[in-house]
């Protein structure tokens, strides 16, 4: 049972009994509060920054695109921390300081505060625009740089396997996807039945395979490795495509150009 229920019978006027504070006292009180909140916010933000930079968010990354994506993520993380701590600190401070501890009174009738509202709007607007420009547009432009491929691989998704065709040599495989290091690779992705999604976690690239159209995505691998060394090096279907969806994957091997050429030759023969 609520301890306020006894007041319910009284006319609303009577419940109103807030303390009237003199102007000077109120002002210094507000200043103190703001100082405390400000300091707490700073501390929380620094701690937050320490935490998010100390923790390694990203799985194994092996491509130029992975660097861009991870940088964008880290930047967003740094921007998110002060926002989150601000809201949490202000709410937390209010919860600690501004509790009604049985006095049964109303708070001051503050309806709005021009400075605070305008400041808040300005900050959120500026932040949104900043986020749009960087890492949004800038990251996207970086991903789209170097649109000329050195190697084209046709990827065909069908339930529930991937088929890779190396465009120039015509080599075809349903096994491990072999890609050479430091080579600009374009994947031309298509599907024969339903929608799949061509995703290589270690490369941070993903593009749907849609029946009827050919979609493309580009990547430059920067680290050697195989599925056995890091299971992020796999082609994984990321769009639900039926019963075999979870197991629609193959390994990816990033090899040196010499090894790649040798493999290509051996497979073509």
């Amino acid at each position: 049972m609520s301890r306020y229920s006894s007041k319910a019978g009284r006319p609303l006027h009577d419940v109103v009994a807030f303390r009237i504070v003199s102007g000077g006292e109120q002002e210094s009180n507000t200043r103190n509060r703001l100082v405390v909140v400000g300091v707490a916010w700073l501390i929380a933000t620094v701690l937050g920054w320490w935490a998010v930079t100390a923790y390694d968010w990203h799985p194994f990354g092996a491509s130029r695109e992975a660097r861009i994506t991870d940088e964008a993520f880290d930047l967003l993380m740094l921007m998110a921390v002060p926002i989150a701590t601000f809201v949490l600190v202000v709410i937390g401070y209010s919860l600690l300081r501004d509790r009604d501890r049985g006095q049964d009174v109303d708070g001051p009738p503050i309806r709005t505060n021009r400075t605070f509202v305008v400041g808040w709007l300005a900050v959120t607007t500026i932040l949104s625009i900043v986020v749009i420009i960087t890492p949004g547009f800038s990251g996207l432009d970086e991903l789209r740089a170097y649109p000329e491929p050195d190697l084209v691989i046709d990827v065909k998704g069908e339930r529930w396997s991937w088929e890779y065709t190396y465009a120039e040599s015509g080599v075809q495989t349903r096994g491990t996807l072999m890609v050479p290091i430091d080579t600009r690779i374009m994947f031309r992705i298509s599907s024969t039945d339903v929608i799949h999604s061509f995703w290589i976690p270690a490369f941070r690239i993903k593009m749907d395979a849609v029946p009827g159209i050919i979609t493309t995505t580009m990547v430059t691998a920067e680290k050697l490795g195989t599925f056995e060394s890091a299971d992020e090096l796999r082609v994984q279907c990321a769009e639900l495509c039926g019963v075999g969806h979870a197991r629609m994957w193959t390994g990816v091997s990033v090899v040196t150009e010499a090894e790649f050429d040798a493999w290509l030759e051996a497979s073509a023969g």
Binding site: I91, L121, V194, I195
Partner: protein
């Protein structure tokens, strides 16, 4: 009983419809029985049969044949099983119905988490896992879309604006009685093998799925019909039925949120009907909307689907915002800070929600040129969302906060949505989204928004208005146990999901790479913990309803109109139409009064406190 009558009516409708369609099929030289084609058409007849039997015949159709209308005159608890037109009865019907659905869907989630405890297949094979996952998603989306609006939009909005009922009481009942067929269709779907497309039902996979997929489409279709009718009713009610003096800037913020939500429902729900219709036509009538070989386009489905389903996210979350702000003001004993800005935020979200849908499709293969505009529009929607937080933070500041149960849940909405909102900014950023799309990061994000925001808001509303709806208090201690149990369980379940998503676990899989087993165990354990918290709630809910302490008219000392009438409110809510004098948030202002209830100058409040 009404439901039995309805089932018989539905069956008769189905048989008549099937017979008609089969006759037509035979006449055109097709095979008479083909389960999908016949069922899709016959479903419409079954719906009509169901509706006629549960009440439309007595309330409407008799008039068309020159007969007198025969309304139900049931009293007592049986009203809740009948086609009752009292908005308060309908509100409770909605609440119970959707809580049932919520718990069923929750059980499916438990099954999924059991399966995901380990990689490889344990309890369920991929097919069954997909079916259960799809059903969980679908039912939860239905709950999130319709539960708060249905239950509290119906129960409290008319009282809050000083009306004695909704504008169209019969339509109101009709929109509720379209909900049971939704559940029936989902059951039929599940029994007939389920469907494995997820709640998004992307074509062409959904065109090829088993017969269960058809009933999923029909269920969604029926729910859409219900929410359009319900939304229309709420809009007209708020526009025309406000009490004297209740001008737009005096509306409680919850009414605003429901009003804005209803506009979204009214306009956008047609698109989900269209998306479902196209799939059904592809399945049954040999059409080729999504068949590229004949000139169709699979991406068309996604555009139409998300054109509804992104606004639908706001249909889920805006009522929770409204409840949160409402509760924060009343329990901080302070006027709602920046009321106009909060309303502006709601309207801003409504306006912008129709320009952001393609951020679900950054990796879908749509035109590259669309990425930047949708990135920008999506990030900009955080400005109006920020206004909601502005209002909440400003209200709490310097308040006289009372940490009662509803307040705890309202604060939890703020906390959870803060995380959900910030991760939304990550997902709107195209480079990051390319990696995170379709991973558990998205799963975590959407659960923070929909469960942490929408459903926590629903529970805030239940704890807040339970005394008004039932006339009894919820047990406070059990409620607090439930709150902390649910809050901790929720966060421990879904925070690690961000991590597994980042580590490369894609969504909608029964199987995953071995290095993620550890985290998934933690998630599953926390998930079971979260699941069991609802047992406490359910016990409290049922026990308090039957045996809880009698509630006074205004247990929280809140100033909105619904608390100035007895609990539960009498049939027509007010003895005389109230006259509104000021907005309901005049806490701390001497001589401010929200309404003149016509009984003296001050609200008459009944003292029914029991020891």
């Amino acid at each position: 009983m009404n439901i039995v009558r309805g089932l018989i009516g539905g069956a008769v409708g189905y048989i008549l419809g099937a017979a008609l369609l089969m006759t037509i099929r035979v006449a055109t030289g097709a095979r008479a029985w083909e389960v999908e084609s016949v069922s899709a058409g016959a479903w419409m007849f079954a719906l009509i049969g169901w509706l006629l039997a549960v009440g439309v015949w007595r309330y409407w159709a008799r008039e068309w044949f020159g007969l007198e209308l025969v309304p139900y005159t049931t009293t007592g608890w049986r009203r809740y099983l009948d086609f009752d037109t009292d908005h308060k009865v309908i509100g409770i019907q909605y609440l119970v119905k959707f809580l049932t659905m919520f718990f069923m869907a929750g059980l499916f989630a438990m099954l999924m988490r059991y399966e995901l405890m380990d990689n490889g297949e344990a309890l369920l094979d991929s097919g069954r896992y997909n079916a259960i996952m799809s059903l969980h998603g679908t039912m939860m989306v239905f709950v999130a879309v319709a539960a708060t609006v249905g239950a509290f939009g119906n129960f409290v909005v008319p009282i809050m604006i000083g009306a004695d009922d909704m504008a169209f009481p019969r339509l109101n009942a009709l929109s509720f009685w379209l909900i049971p067929p939704v559940l029936i269709a989902l059951t039929v779907s599940f029994v007939s093998g389920g469907y494995d497309t997820g709640w998004t039902g992307y074509a062409p996979l959904s065109v090829e799925s088993d017969v269960g997929g058809l009933f999923f489409n029909l269920a969604f279709f029926t729910l859409g019909l219900s929410s359009i009718i319900g939304a229309l009713n709420i809009i007209v009610t708020v526009v025309t039925m406000r009490a004297k003096g209740m001008n737009w800037m005096r509306l409680p913020i919850f009414v605003w949120s429901i009003f804005v939500t209803s506009i979204l429902s009214l306009i956008f729900t047609q698109f989900i009907a269209l998306a479902m219709l196209m799939v059904v036509l592809d399945r049954t009538a040999g059409m080729v909307f999504f068949d590229p070989a004949s000139g169709g386009d699979p991406l068309l489905y996604q555009h139409i689907f998300w054109f509804y389903s992104h606004p639908a996210v706001y249909i889920m979350i805006l009522p929770a915002f409204g409840i949160t702000l409402e509760i924060i003001s009343h329990f901080s004993r302070k006027p709602l800070f920046g009321y106009k800005w909060a309303v502006g935020g709601l309207l801003g979200i409504m306006g912008m929600s129709m320009f952001v849908w393609a951020h679900h499709m950054f990796t879908s293969g749509m035109a590259e040129a669309l990425r930047k505009p949708f990135l920008a529009s999506t990030e900009l929607i955080s400005i109006p969302t920020g206004m909601i937080f502005l209002s909440a933070v400003g209200t709490l500041w310097l308040g006289k906060i009372r940490l009662e149960l509803p307040m705890l849940f309202a604060l939890a909405v703020l906390f959870n949505f803060l995380i959900g909102g910030i991760t939304g900014v990550f997902l709107a950023d195209v480079p990051v989204d390319i990696q995170l799309q379709d991973t558990y990061f998205v799963v975590a994000h959407l659960h923070y928004v929909v469960l942490g925001g929408g459903i926590f808001g629903l529970f805030a509303a239940i704890y807040y208005w339970f005394p008004k709806m039932t006339g009894r208090m919820m047990n406070d201690r059990l409620g607090k146990i439930h709150f902390w149990w649910m809050m901790v369980g929720f966060n421990v379940t879904f925070l690690p999901m961000f991590i597994v998503g980042l580590q490369g676990m894609n969504r909608r899989v029964a199987d995953y790479t071995p290095d993620l087993v550890g985290t998934n165990r933690v998630i599953s354990m926390a998930g079971f913990f979260l699941g069991t918290s609802f047992v406490v709630f359910l016990y409290n809910f049922i026990y308090s309803w039957i045996k809880g302490a009698k509630a006074p008219a205004n247990p929280w000392g809140a100033r909105t109109l619904e608390w100035q009438v007895p609990s539960p409110p009498p049939h027509e809510n007010f003895e005389v139409p109230p006259i509104i004098l000021a907005d309901p948030y005049g806490y701390g202002e001497p001589d401010s009064d929200h309404a003149d209830l016509g009984i003296g100058t001050l609200p008459k409040i009944q003292e029914t406190v029991e020891a």
